[in-house]
């Protein structure tokens, strides 16, 4: 233990910390622009400076280790003046676009300018003018609003190991771009949106489909169907501060109905369907010597990543469509026929915690007869904007059960939204399909934590299954290399692109730390433990749709509607 003085108060701490860490622990909020928790500091923006007695210059707190006896001032005039100057210089070239900027509610740069009382323009410079890159189906890049903090580059390279973007050119021409300054859709970008999550400005945003959705809602000729992922309901519950006793999906459904959506389906239903198909596929591969390990295929960023970086492994991916796309194809075929609605008159919206899902919906190998199964994907963030747009008062919302493709309502899987959830649910069903009995203990605790790599072994009938669960493409890449080198052997591997799984997706509200993500996971586990039906194969709606329409898992209809033959995108 060492002691230091912070704003004249003595504080005890350990020496291996940075000054910033000590300050944050003391509850002193220091603005930072380039700092990223858990990454080595770059010290490039200098927004985090503090004054340390006997030091000649101001010290960047994010990269400077605390030392015994330091006397630190965090809000002296000198410090405040310096921070404000840094900000004023950044704003000098920044477009004055706040009123029209999609980030205005969550923009850290705008927040800083408000916090630091910026009310004059001491520096005037030519405003940055750069083309917006709108070519990707997932993200929009607006370099004019970029302050070159470098966070997007680091998350893309170090966490996702995609490396789609980097700093290019130099001096005043420096910007963040992909190779040859091509539009981002031509790069290796997989649309995960993790760069959006760390960007302090509106330089990175999702591609918005709010206008298309509003148009459809106001078009009487359209039957507007909406599905929402389980991660969305728990996150909305968190954002709207819903009572933990209420069923989040029921409130969400109420909100969606109030907005004028004609039918509200749970993606959880098609997630159960995915589990039926995927676990049957696993068993088929085990029995017939198919390609193992089988990789899950519900996270579109991951699928894209395999195709771009490890194309020789494409056939190891499960051929199952993702839950979003399974429901998409069922709604426009089976359900449309049963309701006597022309599939062209259906507008199907998916609300997802994910930006990669927007690109997934546009994939050429997921079209049915040249038409998209999903017409628009909204992120959780866009959905929150839609709630505001409609002026919804949540207290006045009447909860309502979600619709089902086949009349009877039955609760569906929610686990999938947490890393490890698909694996857990799939093993439950595989166990039943192999042994004819349910697992005695359906909760697989080794898969229920926030570690980026988890694995477990499980005896199912005559099979000794070894499975792994990872999130983040960096972790996935490491696992793939081990598998390729023959160091590790698995039967089944779940990969989620985003930290913690879908609950930490690139379309989620900003500012979630690990704690919030863990909270969302816990909420999902709680819903799972409360549920009467905890096995996908016992979900009545699932049983019905096989009995009345699909036949059996991996049957002819399933292959047509629920599986995909992937082609180069």
């Amino acid at each position: 233990m060492i002691s230091v003085k912070i704003n004249h108060k003595t504080v005890k701490t350990t020496p291996e910390k940075t000054i910033l860490e000590v300050l944050r622990k003391e509850g002193i909020d220091i603005p930072t622009l380039c700092h990223m928790q858990g990454f080595p500091p770059t010290g490039s923006c200098r927004m985090c400076v503090v004054e340390v007695k006997d030091f000649p210059g101001l010290v960047p707190s994010c990269s400077y280790p605390v030392r015994a006896g330091m006397e630190i001032q965090t809000h002296s005039n000198r410090v405040l003046e310096a921070r404000r100057t840094i900000l004023e210089l950044l704003l000098a070239t920044h477009p004055d676009d706040c009123l029209y900027c999609g980030k205005k509610e969550d923009c850290y740069l705008l927040e800083l300018s408000s916090r630091m009382n910026v009310d004059r323009r001491p520096y005037r410079a030519v405003k940055k003018e750069m083309k917006r890159d709108i070519a990707s189906n997932s993200i929009i890049r607006d370099n004019a609003k970029c302050i070159l903090c470098g966070k997007c580059v680091r998350i893309c390279e170090e966490v996702q190991q995609v490396g789609a973007i980097d700093f290019v050119n130099r001096g005043a021409d420096t910007c963040v771009a992909s190779a040859f300054e091509d539009s981002i859709n031509l790069s290796t970008c997989i649309g995960c949106g993790q760069c959006i999550m760390v960007c302090p400005t509106g330089a990175l945003q999702e591609k918005s489909y709010l206008n298309e959705v509003m148009e459809a809602l106001n078009n009487p000729a359209k039957t507007v169907v909406v599905q929402n992922a389980p991660a969305v309901s728990v996150t909305i519950a968190q954002e709207l501060d819903l009572d933990s006793q209420v069923e989040p999906q029921a409130v969400l459904t109420g909100i969606l109905k109030k907005m004028g959506f004609d039918y509200v389906f749970e993606t959880g239903f098609s997630a159960d369907l995915t589990i039926m198909e995927e676990s049957s596929e696993l068993i088929e591969r085990l029995q017939q010597g198919g390609k193992l390990p089988m990789f899950t295929s519900c996270s579109p960023g991951w699928v894209d990543y395999v195709e771009k970086f490890h194309p020789e492994l494409r056939d190891y991916l499960s051929s199952c469509k993702s839950p979003q796309q399974m429901l998409g194809s069922l709604v426009k075929t089976f359900w449309a026929e049963s309701q006597k609605i022309n599939h062209d008159d259906i507008f199907h919206v998916a609300i997802m915690p994910c930006t990669a899902k927007k690109s997934e919906a546009e994939r050429s190998d997921l079209l049915t007869g040249g038409n998209k199964d999903i017409d628009a994907v909204l992120t959780t963030r866009e959905f929150l904007k839609l709630i505001k747009l409609h002026g919804i008062e949540v207290e006045k919302i009447e909860s309502s059960p979600a619709d089902t493709l086949l009349g009877k309502h039955s609760s569906a899987g929610k686990l999938f939204a947490a890393s490890g959830g698909v694996m857990e649910a799939a093993l439950r069903t595989a166990h039943y399909l192999i042994t004819g009995k349910n697992m005695e203990e359906p909760e697989i605790s080794t898969l229920r934590n926030l570690r980026e790599h988890k694995e477990t072994e499980l005896k199912v009938g005559n099979y000794d299954l070894k499975v792994a669960v990872v999130y983040g493409l960096g972790a996935a890449n490491k696992l793939l290399e081990e598998i390729k080198r023959g160091e590790e052997k698995y039967d089944f591997v779940e990969v989620m692109t985003c930290p913690g799984g879908c609950v930490g997706g690139g379309g989620q509200p900003f500012g979630a730390d690990q704690e919030k993500i863990r909270e969302r996971m816990e909420a999902l586990y709680k819903i799972d433990s409360r549920q009467k039906v905890r096995f996908s194969h016992e979900n009545e709606s699932i049983k019905n749709i096989y009995a009345e329409f699909l036949g059996k898992p991996l049957g002819k209809k399933s292959h047509e509607l629920l599986h995909v033959r992937r082609t180069n995108q």
Partner: protein, 157 residues
């Protein structure tokens, strides 16, 4: 030698190289090809296990690297102080208009490329342009038109 073969020579030389070799490798490629082609950057990315954006990022930091194949006639325009005073900015604009390309680009027919350089050390001749290492002194709009017209005509014959 065609481009592919030239590139193979460089590739062979750097067979077991790691990321440290990036800059000399890029210099060699540019030496052979005259520029860094997309294919070359893709290959380097695979070979050194660096992302293409990283390689482009590093290369675009240095003025020496070009990303377009040089034209058959490479025109350099001096923007040093002396040339600037003698109106090299207008000369550049004339060239851009005449060739319909911006600096660091190549015309569609592959005939001309344009590069802005700082002082070529011939200040007494300002404003200067250099076409394939040949100096043209005291240029103006008319002279430029003539130079370009002459090349075009020769090429047609």
């Amino acid at each position: 030698m065609i481009e592919k073969e030239k590139f193979a020579v460089v590739k062979n030389k750097y067979k077991n190289a790691g990321p440290d070799a990036l800059i000399p490798l890029l210099q060699d490629i540019q030496g052979e090809l005259g520029y860094l082609s997309r294919e070359a950057i893709t290959e380097v990315s695979k070979g050194l296990k660096l992302s293409e954006s990283k390689i482009y990022g590093v290369a675009s930091f240095y003025n020496q690297f070009k990303f377009n194949p040089p034209g058959k006639y490479h025109i350099q325009i001096c923007r040093g102080t002396a040339c600037h005073i003698k109106g090299s900015k207008t000369i550049l604009e004339h060239l851009e208009r005449e060739l319909k390309i911006a600096p660091d680009q190549t015309t569609k027919d592959g005939l001309f490329s344009l590069e802005v350089v700082s002082c070529v050390g011939a200040c007494s001749l300002a404003p200067v342009i250099v076409v394939n290492n040949k100096f043209h002194a005291d240029v103006d709009k008319k002279k430029i038109k003539k130079i370009i017209k002459k090349i075009r005509k020769e090429e047609l014959e």
